[in-house]
C-alpha cells in the first residue's frame, strides 16, 4: 500500500529531517510510528500527503508514484488519503456536518451523495445529533471525531494520523484509538504517529521507531525508543 525507497528530506541544506528511509506497509495494516521529538515523524506524514516533496528517493502509494507529483494532482491524492491531526484542523466557521461535507464538496461529489455519506460517517464516529455544532461548541474528543469522520468520507484506503490523541485526556484518547481500530477493521490501512506508550503497548501491533531521521527499529510489540 505504502512504499518508501531510500527517502530523504532536507528542509534546507543543514536540516536533514529524514534520510535513507525504507518502508513497506501492506494494505490493511495498523502501524504505529514512534520516536523522540524532532526525529521526522511529522515530516514522514507530510511526504505521504504531498505537503512536502522528498529530496531524494521514491514514494509509492497504492501504485501511484507521488515523489514528483504535480501540484494540480495533489488534491486528488488528498481525496484518497484520510488525514487526522493533533489540532483537529476543522474550519471554525462551519458546523460539524458542514466540515465533513466540505471534503466531499471540494471533490465535486453530487449533493445527493453528500447527504447520504455525511450522516453515515457521523454515525461511524458516534456523533449523531451534533451535526449543527460549531467546533467551539464541541469537546476536543468530539472535534477529533469530526476530523476522523471527514477523513473517512472518500472511503480512503489509507488513514494517517499525527498524534491524534495529543490534545486529549487518557479516556478520550483510548476512545479515539478504538475508533481508529474499528476503521482499520473495515480494511483501511492506518498509520498512527504517537508519543503515548500506553497506547502503543495496548495496540500490540507493528511499531516503527525513528531516530534522527532514520528507522532504527521496525517490530511487532511494545513501545521502545531504541
Amino acid at each position: 500500500m505504502i512504499k518508501l525507497h531510500n527517502v530523504s528530506k532536507s528542509y534546507d541544506s543543514n536540516v536533514h529531517a529524514l534520510h535513507g528511509v525504507n518502508l513497506h506497509i501492506e494494505p490493511g495494516e495498523f502501524v504505529s510510528i514512534v520516536g523522540q521529538s524532532g526525529t521526522g515523524k511529522t515530516t514522514l506524514l507530510r511526504l505521504l500527503i504531498a505537503e512536502e516533496r522528498p529530496s531524494k528517493g521514491k514514494i509509492v502509494i497504492g501504485g501511484w508514484d507521488i515523489s514528483t507529483i504535480k501540484s494540480a494532482q495533489v488534491p486528488f491524492l488528498r481525496r484518497q488519503i484520510g488525514v487526522v491531526y493533533q489540532d483537529f484542523k476543522l474550519l471554525p466557521k462551519k458546523t460539524a456536518a458542514e466540515n465533513i461535507a466540505f471534503a466531499l464538496e471540494v471533490a465535486g461529489d453530487a449533493r445527493r451523495r453528500v447527504r447520504e455519506v455525511v450522516p453515515q460517517v457521523m454515525r461511524i464516529v458516534g456523533l449523531e445529533g451534533k451535526e449543527r455544532r460549531y467546533p467551539h461548541q464541541m469537546s476536543g474528543g468530539e472535534q477529533q471525531r469530526v476530523a476522523i469522520a471527514r477523513a473517512l468520507v472518500h472511503r480512503p484506503k489509507v488513514l494517517v494520523a499525527d498524534e491524534p490523541t495529543g490534545n486529549l485526556d487518557t479516556i478520550t484518547a483510548h476512545e479515539i484509538i478504538d475508533l481508529l481500530r474499528k476503521i482499520n477493521n473495515f480494511g483501511t490501512t492506518v498509520v498512527l504517529v504517537t508519543h503515548d506508550k500506553t497506547i502503543v503497548n495496548h495496540l500490540k501491533g507493528r511499531v516503527i521507531t525513528l531516530k534522527d531521521g532514520t528507522v532504527v527499529r521496525d517490530h511487532v510489540g511494545n513501545y521502545t525508543l531504541a
Binding site: 488534491p75 488528498r78 474550519l91 466540505f102 471534503a103 471540494v106 465535486g108
Partner: protein, 303 residues
C-alpha cells in the same frame, strides 16, 4: 457549474459568518469610493465656478448716437447667429441712460454733469456674452463686419482681456492640481483596498491551509474570495450611490447660490454620467479586489 454554485454558497456563508469583517471591508470600500466622488464633485464645482466668472464677462459694444435701429437689430441678429455667442442683449439709448442714472443715483456730481449735457449722451448698446472665453477674439473680429462696424463708437473689452488670460491660467493650474490630487487619491484608494483584502485573507490563512489539506483545488479556495470581492464591490457601489447622489442633489441649491448660477448641474452630471462614473467605480473596485485577493492568496495556497 457545481463548483460555481458551491463556491457562491461558501462565499455567502463566509460573508454572513464573518459579518463584522465583511462590514468593515465594505465600509472601507464605501469610504474610498466616496472620496473619489468628492473629487469628481470638486471637478464639477470648479467648472461651475469658472463658468460663473466667465458668464460675468461680456463685451459691451456702444453704437454711435443716432444709429438706426435697423442697423442695431441687424447687428444683434447677426451676432446672435454666431455659434460662439451665447447671448446678445440690446440696450436702447434711453435704457442705457436710465441704468446709468440708477447706478449713480447717489453721486450728485455725475448727475449734475448729466444735466449740464442736457440730452441723452448714450447711443444703443449691445452686450454680448461668449460661450467660451477662447471665443472673444473671434467675436471681436466679427464686430468689424462692414454692415455695422462703422457705426460702433467703442467697445470695452480691453480690461477683460487680462482677466480672461488670468482665468485661463488659473483654470489650467486648477486642473493640473486636480489631476495630481486625483492621482494621489487613486493611489491611496488602491493601497487601502489592497490592504483591506490582504487583511481579510490573512485572517482566513489557516482555513485556506485546511481546505487544501482536505483536497480542495486552488480554484475552489480562490473562487469564494473572488465572489466575495465582487459582491462587496457591488454593495459598496450601491451604498456610495445612495450616499453621493442624494447629497449632491440636496447641496445643489446652496452651491448654486454660492456660485451665483441658476444651475450647477451637479446632480444632472451624475445622472447623465451614472453608467460611466458608478459603473466604472464598480468595475475598478471589482477588478482590483480580484487581483488583490489572487495575489494575497498565492502565499497561502502553496500547501
Amino acid at each position: 457549474m457545481r463548483t460555481l454554485h458551491r463556491t457562491t454558497k461558501f462565499a455567502l456563508q463566509n460573508i454572513w459568518r464573518n459579518i463584522w469583517l465583511s462590514l468593515a471591508t465594505v465600509l472601507v470600500f464605501v469610504l474610498t469610493l466616496t472620496t473619489i466622488n468628492i473629487l469628481i464633485t470638486l471637478h464639477v464645482l470648479t467648472d461651475a465656478a469658472i463658468q460663473s466668472i466667465e458668464d460675468q464677462i461680456d463685451i459691451s459694444v456702444y453704437f454711435k448716437k443716432g444709429t438706426s435701429e435697423d442697423i442695431l437689430f441687424g447687428a444683434q441678429d447677426y451676432l446672435a447667429s454666431l455659434s460662439q455667442v451665447s447671448g446678445v442683449e440690446y440696450v436702447s439709448g434711453e435704457e442705457a441712460l436710465r441704468r446709468f442714472s440708477e447706478r449713480h443715483r447717489y453721486d450728485e456730481r455725475i448727475l449734475q454733469a448729466l444735466e449740464v449735457v442736457g440730452q441723452n449722451p448714450f447711443g444703443g448698446e449691445l452686450i454680448i456674452s461668449a460661450r467660451n472665453t477662447d471665443d472673444f477674439a473671434f467675436i471681436l473680429e466679427a464686430l468689424k463686419n462692414p454692415t455695422f462696424g462703422s457705426a460702433i463708437e467703442s467697445q470695452d473689452f480691453s480690461d477683460h482681456e487680462r482677466v480672461i488670460q488670468r482665468i485661463d491660467a488659473f483654470t489650467q493650474r486648477v486642473q493640473f492640481f486636480a489631476l495630481i490630487l486625483a492621482g494621489i487619491f487613486a493611489l491611496i484608494a488602491v493601497l487601502i483596498v489592497l490592504n483591506s483584502i490582504r487583511v481579510s485573507i490573512y485572517t482566513h490563512r489557516e482555513e485556506i491551509g485546511i481546505m487544501k489539506l482536505v483536497g480542495a483545488s486552488n480554484n475552489f479556495v480562490r473562487l469564494p474570495f473572488i465572489i466575495e470581492g465582487i459582491l462587496f464591490s457591488f454593495v459598496a457601489t450601491a451604498m456610495t450611490i445612495a450616499i453621493v447622489y442624494p447629497t449632491a442633489t440636496a447641496m445643489e441649491p446652496q452651491l448654486a447660490q454660492f456660485f451665483e448660477q441658476q444651475n450647477i448641474g451637479l446632480s444632472s452630471y451624475y445622472l447623465q454620467n451614472a453608467y460611466w462614473i458608478f459603473g466604472g467605480q464598480f468595475l475598478a473596485l471589482a477588478i482590483l479586489s480580484i487581483i488583490a485577493s489572487s495575489l494575497a492568496l498565492n502565499r497561502y495556497l502553496r500547501v
